[in-house]
Subunit: 419 residues, 2 copies
């Protein structure tokens, strides 16, 4: 990504992007439920004939087909909200191959290891908005992006310490004076691979949606186990927690217009043309009205954690860049999340103002060392979209988990039956 | 500050700033030691005739003149490093007045409360660089900026909850539906006042140094007690800790090119012209050399917490935006801190590349509720510049404090005698 990419992509009057060759119009992304739900009797549409309009059917993987690592899955469909369930999920084994390079200097082909070199597991949740297409593409694509990114750095991951050079021909001896002091660990390469994979997947979604004329975006919450560590990568307002006998440990933070207020206001400060004169970047306790003019009211700008008072001017009456709070908080009056995949074409209704420059596709990654954790059989990782966290707190979910599981020890599907 | 301020100030080709009227050349900021050191026999210059060049004299307030709240102060001058000690300090009582407005609608004058309305205490440390002028100006100015900022919001600070409106004529009843939900507390106004005061002080320093033809910058670490709370505001690499019998609590975080890497790289990504083609914003484990070209090496960009590998191109051989680590880490090869006051004219040696756009003057503020803390007599807040923290850890300082104080209960100056 070039340094001028941002300006070319989002600002008027910047240098024009190189013209793209016309692409054949691709067919729309076909709708489908997660693979492991197939055959469980779920129809693609929430408007299933067997459902009453106010019904909230619960769907789980078909009996006898266990997910890896005793994982479970359940979804509750709000049939009134949308025609299709926009949530998607994926899970599976992550097989990382190692490429061996030829010995001779000018030998360019690769020898693929016949067997996987490293294996891990992968679970992902995608909460779609503006249509299911982005979430479906993410469920189909992100694991491949991640595998590719991991394969590109696997030599570094298996070294005692990632070497400074990862040459195409050989791994040069590193200068320990520099690499060691920086304290770069193998897990930093996995974090980097997750960050890059989310970005790569976002680009794929952007291309695919543009080609098929579809729109939409999704959040992404991913858990990966690899080399004795659990990685949780989150972009959006989903949440993962680890429920243990005596502890509820958060494994992710939520990214919403409220939690990322300062980053978003800072961008609007640096590039005010992104707001096209239609929005104010300042935060006020409520939308200001005409009779607030000239009054001193509470406000916050991008550099402030605290609050102050300012005298209301005409420009402060514009619609706020971030408005509302809690579940109602919206970025540019449009979007409830500030990170995720897709939304490349999303604009504020009836304007030319784009949302994408304010959105990050890069996740925050939490790393848990499984050896240090000494996991017990009753430990459970719960990953859920805001549909759960809007109605239950982490502690309430933990209580449910602890009360339900001990009485269902024999049921192989008990992990996905918390409804 | 207008939204276009950043571009006018820092970018070539932006709209020109309005021409300023020529100012009479001001005289340079006079050098002096902190007020409370006067008469303690300290000379302004570290090149004191009574000192051997390798001596490190310790200076404290004169006996019989206690600082507020049993505070102590000690400085160790490295006579070899610079002609003048660039560290400065200030402390005192913070008297906040309340302005009462006339009753009649069109009455514009104010009645000043004859007595202070709120009082607090203020302690501040400033670690200067590039000359002592910025630190002296900060020691002379910041408390006045803070008092002014607090007086502007004092009506809100003493309300049960800061009201939405702080009118010039009366405090309108707030709409609790909005203000209450945002959860804005009186302490948020003090945090906001500290943030604004640092910025105001930075502007004063910029004007004064420009007028007097001087240069330099400083870090700022401020502790304020007010309304039963302790506020610690930090911009730079100084540190405050609370030492208790069983606990060492950090009261601040350090801001250096390393700790603020992502913010600094992000700005260089959004405005690459700030680097004038001379620096690379990417981080590598060490400075790359010609024979790294074409190799895959470890790197990090602005969106990455983890590390990845990239193939080295010619532009990666440029000097890094942030280089070195620990005490050696430098921003643009020049500055060891990423927040502070001053440095308005600082440029990379022999170039036109400015440091100021990458620096923040706004502090991070920590709030401690003194009632919840239940402070004990042996509790001590230690505030120190990097001169201390480069050689002693927080835990080592805590051990010193705990071992020294109990044996010196009768000495009123014992708090400043930890040398």
């Amino acid at each position: 990504m070039s340094a001028n990419w941002f300006r070319r992509r989002f600002l008027p009057g910047g240098p024009l992007p190189a013209p793209r060759p016309p692409r054949p119009r691709a067919s729309p992304v076909p709708y489908r439920r997660p693979r492991f739900l197939r055959g469980s009797g779920s129809s693609p549409s929430t408007a299933d004939a067997s459902c009453r309009p106010d019904a909230r059917p619960v769907r789980s993987p078909v009996r006898g087909r266990a997910l890896p690592w005793n994982a479970g899955y359940a979804e509750i469909i709000n049939a009134e909200k949308s025609e299709f369930n926009e949530d998607q999920a994926a899970c599976g084994k992550l097989c990382i191959r190692r490429f061996e390079f030829g010995v001779e200097e000018d030998q360019e082909w690769l020898t693929l290891c016949p067997e996987e070199f490293l294996t891990g597991h992968y679970w992902a949740l995608f909460d779609g908005h503006g249509g299911p297409a982005a979430a479906i593409l993410a469920a189909n694509t992100l694991h491949s992006c991640l595998r590719r990114q991991l394969e590109a750095v696997v030599e570094g991951m298996v070294a005692t310490q990632p070497p400074m050079h990862l040459s195409g021909h050989c791994i040069r001896p590193s200068d320990p004076q520099f690499v060691e002091e920086k304290g770069i660990r193998a897990e930093d390469l996995v974090v980097g691979a997750l960050e890059s994979a989310f970005q790569e997947c976002d680009e794929v979604i952007g291309r695919e949606l543009e080609a098929s004329g579809q729109v939409g975006g999704c959040t992404a919450l991913v858990a990966v186990t690899l080399q004795g560590k659990l990685y949780v990568a989150n972009a959006g307002d989903s949440r993962a927690i680890l429920v243990r006998r005596d502890e509820v440990r958060p494994l992710s933070s939520e990214f919403t217009p409220e939690t990322e207020r300062q980053r978003i206001q800072q961008l609007a400060f640096l590039y005010p043309e992104l707001l096209a004169g239609e929005f104010t970047r300042l935060e006020f306790p409520r939308r200001l009205k005409g009779d607030d003019l000239g009054q001193k009211v509470l406000f916050r700008d991008h550099h402030m954690s605290g609050w102050s008072y300012k005298c209301v001017e005409q420009s402060d009456l514009k619609y706020p860049l971030i408005h509302g709070q809690g579940r109602q908080a919206r970025l540019l009056g449009t979007l409830a999340v500030s990170r995720g995949l897709g939304d490349h074409q999303l604009k504020v209704l009836d304007t030319n103002i784009q949302l994408k420059p304010f959105l990050l596709s890069v996740p925050q990654v939490t790393v848990l060392d499984m050896d240090q954790l000494e996991p017990q059989e009753e430990d459970v990782v719960v990953m859920a979209t805001d549909g759960l966290w809007d109605v239950l707190s982490s502690e309430q979910v933990a209580r449910l988990v602890r009360s339900f599981l001990p009485g269902n020890r024999e049921d192989p599907h008990r992990w996905g039956q918390l409804d």
